[in-house]
Structures are given as C-alpha cells and as structure tokens.
C-alpha cells in the first residue's frame, strides 16, 4: 500500500504518508493563498524522511486523500456566489426567519441566553433573492397545487436579473415527490442553456437531503450551492498540482459522514469538519485494530475541545441535524461535540460568586494568550500552564512561538489575584484545574446522555494541548487510561489514510412499526423493501461511477426510530437485516431499537406502549479497502526509566509546594521506557505532562500511555 493523506487545517498542513511498511508524518504551515504550496512542502518533508522524491512518490501512490476545513472557513468568511432561492408559495420567509434557535445556533451559551442581544447571522441568501412559486405537495407527495411553468419562468428571470449566480430550489414535501423540483430544473435549463448566459448551477433540495424539514433542507442546499464553486476551485487547484507532478488517479476527498469519495461525487457540504472527523475515524480504527475497547477521542487545541465517541465495535454516533457555523443543516455527520475550551480560553473574575470563570471567551490565535506577547492582556489557560512550569518558553509549538512568562504573570495579577486574594500560582493552579474539570464534565455528559460510563473508556488525547491536560481531565472524569495515539501530531491525516469509500442515502418515511391505537404491527413489507432497494441502487451507482465493481459494494441498513411522538430519533444500525419479509423481521427491528434505546436511557425509559415509528431509512453503501496497520499497544517486557535532560520546579494540583520535576526530550520515548510522574516530556510537537500518581509508558509508532498508578 502506497498512500498520501493530508489534512489542511487553519495553521498547519499535516501529512501522513504510507509507503509499503513505512509510515511517515510531516507538517508544514498552511499556505492560504495557494494550498498546494503548503501541501507540497509537507509532502517534500515526508519524502525526505522516507528518502524518496516527490515525482516518484506521486507517480506511484495508489491514492491521495484529503481532508480540509476549507469549506468551514469559506462559510465563515462568506466567500461565495450570490445564491437565489425558489421556494413554495406561503414559505417565502422560512429561510430568513430560520427556526426558533436560528439566532443562537453556533453561539456559546451566554449569548444564546441573552435575548436582548439576539441577532440572526447575516443571511447567505438575502430576502431580495428569494421567490416563491405557486405549487404545493401534501405530506404524502400528492399534488395540492399544480406548478405553472409560466410562473416559474418569470420567477427565474427575476432572480437572474437580481444578480443570482446560483439557484437553489427547495420545495415543501419534495422528498415525497420531487416532480416539481425536477420540472423547475428543466425549465431553468431550457430558459438558460449553458451556451447562453453561462451555466447557472441549479441545486435541488431533495437531492441534497432526503429528510423532512423544509428549513434545514433548504439551508443545506443553500450552503452546498454557496460553497460549491470555491471548493471546486480549491480542490481543482490541488488536483492540478498533483497532476503536474505525475499523479493521474482521482483525488479522494474525506467526508464528514466518516467516509470518502472522489471529488466529482462530493458535495461541498460533506467536506465541512472533515478534518476533525477523520481524527475520530482514526480513533475508531485504532480501537478495532488494537482491541482498545470503548474510546473517547479528545482533541484539545487553542480554542476548542473536540470530543468524539467511539464505543467498542465501532458503532458510531451521528448528528443528523448538525450546526455548521451558525446554520442548522440536514446531513448525516459523525457526531462531534465541541466545547469552547482550550489553551486560549480566558479566565475572568466572577464577582457574584467570588470565583474564577473560564471561557467561553477565547483569546483565540489573535491576540492569543498573554504569554504570546502579541498584546493579549487577559489571562488564559496557556498562561496558567506556563507559570506552573509545564511549558518550555523557548520550545513551544515547534519553536514557532516564544512565550513570555512576564506577560502571563502580569495578566493574572492584574485581573484575578487582588479580587481573589490569592497569589499568582494559586490562581494559575485554579485555572488549570478548573479547565480540566470543565472538559471532564463535558466528556462525562457526552457519554452519560448516550448511556455510557466514563470509567469504561480509554481516552485518546491529541491536539496541541491534549497531552498536557490529559492526566488532569482523566482524573476528573474518572478515566484511568489515556493514550496519546500513534502519529498523534498528524492524527487526523492518519485517519484519512484509513477511510473507505462510502456513501449515505436516506429517505424520510412514515412507517409505523407498531401502532399503539390499533395495536397492530407494520405489514407493508414490499413498500419498505422498495425504498431500501432504491437507496442501495443510488449508493451502488455512486461507487460504480468511481470505478468499483458492483459485486464489491456492501450495504448497511440503518433506521431512525422513535417511540410515540418523541423528538429523539435513535439511529439503529441493523447488522444483518436488509429486507423485511415477515413479522419476525419487524419484531427484530423493534427489539434492536429497544436494546439501543434502553442502553442509552435506561430500561425503564423505553415507552413502546406509546407506539413505535421509523421516520428515516438510510443505507450506507461502501467498499472495503486497505488500511493502515497499527501495532499492538501492549507494552510487555521490562521497562526502565530513561535519562532526564534537565529538571525544574513545577507546580501540581494537590501539592502546595513546587516539585522538582525531571524533564525529558523525545529520546526518552522508547518502547521500553517508563517515566514516573511527576515528569515533563517535551517533543517537537507537544508537551506531555505526567502528573504525580501517573506514569507514562511509550509504545511503538509514537504512541504513549498515561496510566494511573
């Protein structure tokens, strides 16, 4: 297997490179104006480490995979074409008004609660570019009002005259019957053939999302339309760069569904958050390969803390209505919980309770923590870490940033010490402990609302600040084992190297598995199976178009089910069942649902008496492929403590006096080493903080265990 996987993030471009048995990691600064430059730099570094040259590599690798935050950034910066929208009569303001939470989606809790300050985000489609057509379907897809082609023509003409550069058509109940959306598309193509005005891209709601919900589907379609051009442009730039150096296969793009596909089978919307999700995917693969069991992956960076949940067996949790930037959309996305806490979180004085509040404000990367010495005047978590002695001021972030402890001290004294009547170190300790606990609470909540217990989990800690706070977070969460995973500095890219080609297709349905009023079980098997077959056929087409043999395509059937009228729909993956042929199958589906539900909320909470509904049928179509092999994480053998390079006084939680703490460098991380806490290990990319009562045991491929004594 020869493979290049890249994750282009806001600051760094990470590269994970597989050349037969050789696994290489490399990093370069992201070059925003032309992503190919940073990409090439990282790749060159990897080639150098593998003793190869770029041209050879690119002409021989079997695939280049690519995860990016490009779409997210373009959305935040509002870089995109003018999008016009055509909607159903009576729904003219559905898009601008959004849903009740529209003003607060994507904001922190304090802004969500502040109604006098509530403001919706600037619209992607301004009201001037929304038109309605007289048409209506009912919830079963029956026509209530017919579509009038003349009406459509005049509306399209108005939108184009008003400057629309892309058109979104999203009609009510089009998932049940897309006839009107398709008819409008035809009229537009007829009215504006590509050879005339230049093609105006037309996106149809029912093709972007098969789920019910006129607002979320319209928003998804709009974002897709908005990002389409810029994504296509940037990806083309990259793929042109690859071709220039001899790579002639299609470039693969990582999806937020946890799969990937070729560029021409990728919607822009599917690439949002694909980097962090590739990290979750790597965690899943690692767990499967090495028998880690339940895993919670945590990525602690400067501004956010991403939590991914990978229970044993790899059953993933999805968000079907995730928030992207400030928008609620309808796309199946691997569940990722993001807390607004990181190294840049600002610690402020809480006058009411005479205590310290951490976040939600963040110093971000501009100005950054006070110790970055870029004019940041307010104390952050990183400032506390620095004063406690955890960080080496001269070797932080690979030496890219020099830290100034004087600034940290000043910021903490100025903002916190007098109010609290505590000295600088006590305050720093409270900040460090406070943020650890905050994140532990986040992890705990994340697990418990899904029916898990933190103590059953191994925590993976990566990201710039992950290994530094790992012991503290684990201690508060009640987790005993923490792993800084293999290739942790490029972990997302490593995950991209493992993904398989996968497509989801779904369809909103009204299947009453058990009708509580009539006390009867579902029996329209053919109807159900027809939907499944249709979804499988669409997945198969996607994969065949990318050159796969239909015989290699596998399918997994998933149902979103619920009791009575609950909001919650629980995704239920049916491992072996893909068709319904009798009452036994219906009962089997009900049982699987009941098991999943009871696990999550406790047996007593299941309410089958209120009826059981399935409202979405989803089919995952995929092909298996080669994967990265992770070595066993079992240490084994005798371990010894390596030689330290220096020592310094370090302050720990629970210890009033500073402890003289040995400091190690990357040479200490050998597979036969054990480093007892307290200790600090500083490597090129990260700092490992081993708190007293913990020990650090490196294993192969650069993975490191934090174990409680």
């Amino acid at each position: 297997m020869k493979r290049i996987s890249v994750d282009i993030g806001g600051t760094f471009t990470d590269c994970f490179f597989v050349w037969d048995e050789k696994y290489v990691e490399a990093k370069a600064l992201t070059t925003h104006h032309n992503l190919a430059l940073g990409f090439n730099e990282a790749l060159d570094l990897a080639c150098k480490r593998a003793d190869l040259d770029r041209a050879t590599v690119l002409s021989e690798v079997d695939s280049v995979r690519y995860a990016t935050t490009l779409g997210t950034n373009a959305l935040i910066e509002r870089k995109g074409p003018k999008v016009g929208a055509i909607v159903t009569h009576g729904f003219e303001d559905t898009i601008p008004l959004s849903r009740g939470r529209g003003y607060g989606e994507g904001l922190d809790y304090s802004m969500q609660q502040n109604l006098p300050a509530a403001e919706r985000p600037e619209a992607i489609v301004p009201r001037t570019l929304i038109r309605s057509v007289k048409e209506r379907m009912n919830s079963a897809g029956k026509v209530v009002a017919h579509l009038d082609p003349e009406d459509v023509r005049s509306v399209v003409r108005e939108l184009v005259d008003a400057g629309a550069e892309a058109l979104v058509v999203s009609l009510v109940n089009a998932t049940e019957n897309p006839a009107h959306e398709l008819a409008i598309q035809e009229i537009i193509l007829d009215e504006f053939p590509p050879h005339e005005l230049g093609a105006i891209p037309v996106l149809l709601g029912h093709q972007v999302s098969g789920r019910k919900g006129e607002y979320v589907r319209a928003t998804s379609t709009i974002i897709d339309g908005f990002l389409h051009e810029i994504m296509f442009h940037a990806l083309s730039q990259l793929s042109q760069n690859l071709r220039d150096y001899g790579y002639d296969k299609p470039m693969l793009v990582i999806h937020n569904s946890g799969g990937m596909a070729q560029m021409n089978s990728t919607d822009a919307l599917q690439t949002i958050h694909s980097g962090p999700i590739a990290g979750v995917s790597a965690a899943e693969h690692l767990s499967t390969e090495t028998g880690l069991g339940h895993v919670i992956s945590t990525d602690m960076g400067g501004t956010s803390f991403d939590i991914g949940l990978v229970p044993e067996g790899g059953v993933k949790h999805y968000d079907f209505l995730p928030t992207i930037d400030r928008w609620l959309v309808s796309v199946p996305m691997v569940h990722l919980d993001t807390l607004g806490a990181g190294g840049g979180s600002i610690a402020s004085y809480d006058r009411i309770h005479n205590a310290i509040k951490i976040g939600p404000e963040s110093a971000g990367s501009n100005p950054g923590p006070a110790c970055y010495d870029r004019g940041g005047l307010r104390p952050t978590v990183t400032d506390a870490d620095l004063l406690l002695g955890y960080l080496d001021p001269d070797n932080y972030a690979n030496g890219y940033i020099k830290l100034n402890p004087k600034r940290s001290r000043f910021a903490i004294e100025e903002h916190l010490c007098d109010h609290l009547d505590l000295d600088v170190i006590d305050v720093a300790r409270a900040i460090k402990d406070g943020v650890d606990e905050q994140m532990a609470i986040g992890i705990g909540k994340e697990l418990r609302v899904r029916g898990y217990l933190p103590e059953d989990f191994t925590m993976l800690a990566y990201g710039g600040n992950g290994p530094l706070h790992a012991c503290g977070i684990a201690r508060h969460a009640g987790i005993k084992r923490v792993l800084a995973p293999p290739y942790s500095s490029v972990f997302s890219a490593c995950g991209a190297g493992n993904m398989r080609q996968l497509h989801f297709h779904e369809r909103g349905v009204h299947v009453t598995m058990y009708n509580a009023t009539t006390r009867s079980l579902y029996d329209r098997y053919d109807e159900f199976n027809a939907v499944v077959e249709d979804l499988e056929a669409r997945g198969r087409e996607d994969l065949v178009r990318q050159g796969f043999d239909p015989a290699d395509v596998k399918y997994r059937l998933e149902l979103d089910m619920r009791y009575g009228n609950q909001l919650l729909t629980q995704a239920v993956a049916l491992e072996d069942l893909t068709r319904m042929s009798g009452v036994g199958d219906v009962l089997a589906m009900i049982k699987t649902f009941g098991d999943v539900y009871s696990h999550r909320f406790g047996a007593s909470s299941a309410a089958p008496e209120a009826g059981i509904r399935c409202n979405t049928i989803r089919v995952a179509s995929y092909v298996e492929g080669d994967v990265v092999n992770f070595d066993s994480l079992d240490g084994g053998g005798e371990r010894h403590t390596p030689a330290q390079v220096s020592e310094r006084k370090v302050h720990f939680i629970g210890h009033d006096a500073p402890l003289l703490t040995p400091v190690y460098d990357h040479h200490a991380l050998t597979v036969d080493a054990v480093i007892p806490g307290p200790a600090i290990v500083t490597t090129e990319n990260t700092t490992f903080l081993v708190e007293p009562g913990w020990r650090l045991e490196p294993t192969s491929q650069g993975a490191v265990w934090f174990l409680q004594d």
Binding site: G90, P96, Y109, P116, E119, T517, Y563, L567, F601, E609
Partner: protein, 764 residues
Amino acid sequence: MTAIDETRALTAQEQEWVDKFMDETTLFLGPDPEIMRDHAISARSDHEEIVLAAGVDRLQVERIRKRIAGALDEGYEMCEAQGAAPGAKWGDLTTAIYTAAGDVAYLSCHGVIAFSAILHHPIRYIMKYWKDEPTVGIHEGDGFIHNDARFGNIHNTDQSMIMPIIRDGQVIAWVAATIHEGENGACEPGGMPSGSETPFDDGLRMSPFKIVERGHLRRDLLTFLQHSVRDPKLQLADLKVKITAVRKIMERIDKVIDEVGVDTFVGALRTTVEDVDVEVRRRISELPDGTYRMDQFMDSTLKENILIKFACKITVKGDHMTIDLRGTGPEILNRAINSPLCSVKSMFMQAILAFWWPDLPRCTSAMSCIEIISDEGTWADASYDAPMGQSLQASFRGFSAMQAMYSRMSFSTPHKYSNVVANWFNQINTFLWGGITQHGDMVGNLCADLNGMPGGAKPFKDGEDAVSPLFCAMADTAEQEVMEEEVPFMQLVSKRLVRDNMGFGKFTGGMGYEMIVAAEGTPQWGFMTVTSGAKFSSIYGMYGGYGCGAYPLAMVKGTNVYEHIRRDNSKFDLSIEKVMNERPFEDGKYLTAHMGLQFDIAKDGELYMISQGAGGGYGDPLERDPVAVVRDAELGRISQKVAEDIFAVVYDPATFRLDVEGTTAARQAARQARLQRGKPFEEFCAEFVTPEPPAELLYYGSWGDVEEITATEFTIDGPKRVTAPLKQLPIIMVPDRREVKIAALEARIAELETKYGEDVQRLT
C-alpha cells in the same frame, strides 16, 4: 372560619382541643397562603447556619456548581430528546436543583426559567404537609407530581416531577424537571383553554402528590391521570421521561455529595442562593431612585371585548425595590384570563433573568429581595375559585411591564447588563388544535409558531423579526413538513412577514408573519386561538416608537379551498390581505373576529388565518435613515403609504430611488405639523382626561392613579358600572354572550311583533 367566641381567651388545654378538632375535620388542604404569598428565599436552616459558619472554599463551591450545571444540562437534554410533548421538542421545559427548603439554587442552562422560579411553592407545601403525614411521608426514591397553578405554577399545562435528595433520613435538596405538556384534559384540547369558565374546566388539578413510591411509578395513579386526559400516550411517555431525567441528575449529584460531603454540598447550594441575593441588591442600588410606572391593558376576556388593566408601578429606593400591582382590574370569575400571583411573579422573574440581567446566575434569589404589593382578587392575583386556563394573559403583561420599565430605569446607568429593548411581542399567536389524525390518533396540542415572537427595537438596530418567545431562549419552532406528517392540516401559508406589521420608529420593531391553515382528510378536527390584542395591542413603542398594530382572526368557512386550488392553480395565492379583500372563493363565508376563538370545528378546506404581531419600535420614525425606509419598501416590508405617512420619506415607487430633497421637505413639514398640533401639557390634560371611562366601554381597573377600582357588574337590570375599593367590589361574572345575543334578538322580535300586531303563542 371558626365560630369560636374570640372575646374569651382559651386556656391552653382548650386551645389544644380546638386545634385537634380542627385538624381532624379539615376538609382538604388547599393552597397555603403562607407559602403562596411568599417569594423570598427561606431563612438559613440550622444546618446551613452551621455549615456556613464553618466557612466555605469559594473555588470548591465553584467546582460543585459546575458539576451540578453539567448534571442539570444532561437531564435537560434527555427530556428534550425523549419528551413526547411538542413543548419538550422546542425546549419548553427545564430542570433544576433546589435547597431543602425549596429555593432554586441552579437551573439548567437552557429552558424556561419561570418553571423553576416558582417551584419552591409546591416543595414547601410537600415539606410542610406531606413530610410528617403518616399516609404520605418523604422517602428515598419518592417522586411528587404537580401541575395546579394554585399551588405554584405558570399554568396547568406544565407538569413537574419533584424528587428529594435524602441523606441520613434528612431531605437535603430537591431535583425537579418540568415540561410544558400541552394536553391536560381541560374543556378544550391543548391545555390552555380560553373557554374555561370554572376552575374545573382547566383540566387536571394536581396538587403535589406522590406518584413515585420508593422508586416505583404507581400504576393506579398513572391510570387515573391517563384516563383524565385526551392523550394518554403523552401522559405516560413524558412522565417516564421526567422520572428518568431526574434520576440521572440525582445520580450525578449523589456522586458529588459522596465526594465533598453533605455539609459542603449544602453549603454550596446555600452560598449560591445568597451570593445572588447580594448581587441583586447591589444591582438595584445602581438604579436611580424613583417611581416608574407602566400600565398594560387586555382588550378581551377571550370571549367578550373589554378593557382590563394590569397596573404596575416600581419604586426604587437605595437597594430596595417595590413592585406595586394595586389598581389592577378585578378577577372575572367565569373567564379564563385570571392568573394566580405566582404565575405573574414567574414572568417577573423571566424579565429579570432573561432581559434585565441575563448574566445573573439563575436562581430564586433573583427576585427574593423585591417586595411585591398586590391584593388578592384581581385578574393578576386571582383567588382559588377563579378559572385560570389563560393565566398567561395576565402574567405576560406583567413581563412586558417589567421589561419596558427596566429600559427606563437603566437608561442613565453607566453599566448596562443587557441592551435596552422596546417591548417584545407578548402574545402566543398560534393555532391550538385537536381531533383525530390521519393515523387515527386522538390528539390535542398547538403549533410551535407561538415561539416566533418578534423582538423589540434596540436604540441602535431594528428588532429581530419573529425570533424567540419572551419566556424561553433557544426555543425551537417546528418544521412544517414534519408536523404535516402527524396532523391532518396544512399550513398553506407557513411563514410570510406581513407588510406594515412592525412597530415603526427610528429603529423598527421586529415583524411577525402570517399563517393560513386548513384541515384535510380527518373525521373530526378543530382549531382555537387564545390571544388578545385584536382591538388594543399590549405592545407599546419606546421613546417615540410605535407599538404593534391590532390584528384579527380571519376565516373562510363553508367552502373547501383545497378543491378550488386543485382545480385552478391561480387560486393558490393566499394572504390575509388578499383573501379578505378579494374574496376569491365565491361560495365562502368570510369572517373576522378577535383572537379568542374557542375550539371551533373545522371542515376540510376551511381557512383559518392569523398573523403574529410585532415588536415595539424605538425612537421617532422621522429620524429613521431614509435609505432604510426605502429598502424596507423595496423588500415589501412597508407600503408606500407608511413610508410617506409615518416616516415622511419620498421615493420613486418604480425604481425605489430615494428623493432626498422631497424627503427633507416632507420631514420638515411633518415636524411643523407637530408643532402646530402641540399644546401645553396642562391644556392637553384638561381636554383629554375624563373623570371616568367612556360609558359604553366595559372597563376594569383603576381609572387614573386612585385606589378605587372601576368595574361593570352584570345585574338583574343589566350592566352597571361600580367604583369601589377592591375588597368591596361585587363578584364580577360576565353573562354568556350567546344568551346576551338571544336576549337582544328576542327583544327585537317582540318589538317587531308589537309593531306589526302579530300575536304568537310560544311554549315555554
């Protein structure tokens, strides 16, 4: 009333006998005024006193709070995800932790503050009456249910599950979850009957009672409850959800207690409550001393057109604040608009925690030190015998008064805790519905569109259109497609802003949207609406801004609009304005009415049409940026008439080009006209102020700043205006409007018969 002769003092022995007799002959335990009239935090218990005297570690308390907050949010998310009630799906719920005495110490981050804000009433009731009652008692694993507003609730449609945390046999805290359930077996579906005429029409009247006994949900009581409501599935499912959520929260809290110990835990809860109390006093002292006044009015009983006053006067002196509700109109004993005082207080709390000081930790003490003066027997402080199905009518007006007054009180304070905002829209303009669905289920509930209340204008920006209910941040509105799958009606117009529907001003209030619905394919279905303001809006503008307009309910009955539309697509061009002006469905009967529609049977294809109101405007419309006015006109948000008449802006309606000079001239003229209209205040008062309300107006409340209440009593001789102190007013009941109408028709018939000399014999 005891008939003991009070002139002679009883001996201790006699007193004991009397007490014993009274105790044994208590008919039942109603709401306890001692509990219900008090909203202050309780005094420190002995335990709390000891713990706090020993000192608390502030940083540790902060950590405990964080963990409690995490647990409450966990519980909240569970309720939201699993709840079957539409309310649960939009976030119309909350979870909270209370001290042993029932003071809210912490609320979940999301959800309805007001729910928890008054739950100390039922908790205190449980502690006072059931703790030592041998047939009840409080044990580990017990859970109490409650919904009756008389015992401390906003309205009877919300149900709470309240469970004690017990250590060493002592209750040390409480955890509760509350959900707006909707259906509760009231005389109309949906739980908020506008047609209720007695308290018995209000649906379930659950005083706090134990439904979970040592961990087990009592099937007998559950059956009774299910039997008493229209939607037994909902009653069951959500009861389970609340129990599960509260237990989950308690598991987390148990863990905290195990770690830190009971004393520290109890100390942390009490410290939190007291910290907020201190902070509130400090914030009050920042406000300039003075008396501020904002009266609100309701224009209907939801059946008849009346004008009833909600009087509200705030006095600030140092760190003391008093809210005086005297002068408020009397309760109307056979109409649904009355509210218990606690419901009004809960909305005061909402105003304080969501609009005055959104950064304040959410706990009981936010209002503890604020004194409230109110006499029982008004529609905002109703007595036990008054129906309260639409208590929101009074309590939301209380909210608006508080919201508006703070904007004035804080006008000149240097530090602002939130934006000054003109009045938020305060009515739940939505459709309640009920009947049999296309799936054969019996249901009753309402459209989440009530959550689309428009926001008021700010001093620097227009208000947000249909944005959020005043009573709950982050409450969701439904997706119509998802609704249509469940219920047999369509929103043929779902969301379209209504032109000119805004509070005009330098900055305009947020706009509301119209909704047009029609049922189809159901054996039995009906709609109702429960709002006021079709004649006199309760949303005012601020500092020269306009208030909200008045909007009626409009209907097209007697025709199936679906048939028209299927036949002819051009008929599918609906808006209230068009339908009512152009009357496109020949065979239809076009009706308008105020917005208090009692449950009305809807045949297939009959149209029901309403509009959300608008938020209040801020500042003088003549100061609005003319460019913004033209932009609004171009977007169809305002008509040319409004642009010219209200904003004095001139533009070319074909090109929407602003006429700068024309506008300057028009504004100049408008200002001149004002100067000419203007007159000295004394002169104005002399002309404008009358000694009493117009004779034909059914007016309730004080007229001017006097103690006497004006009211119309319906006597045997017909309506009669009375003015008296509240205590001396007669009981106010309104006659059945159909009987009034019949009487009028009969009189007319008699008159005609006399006129034409007909002699008709009638059986009586």
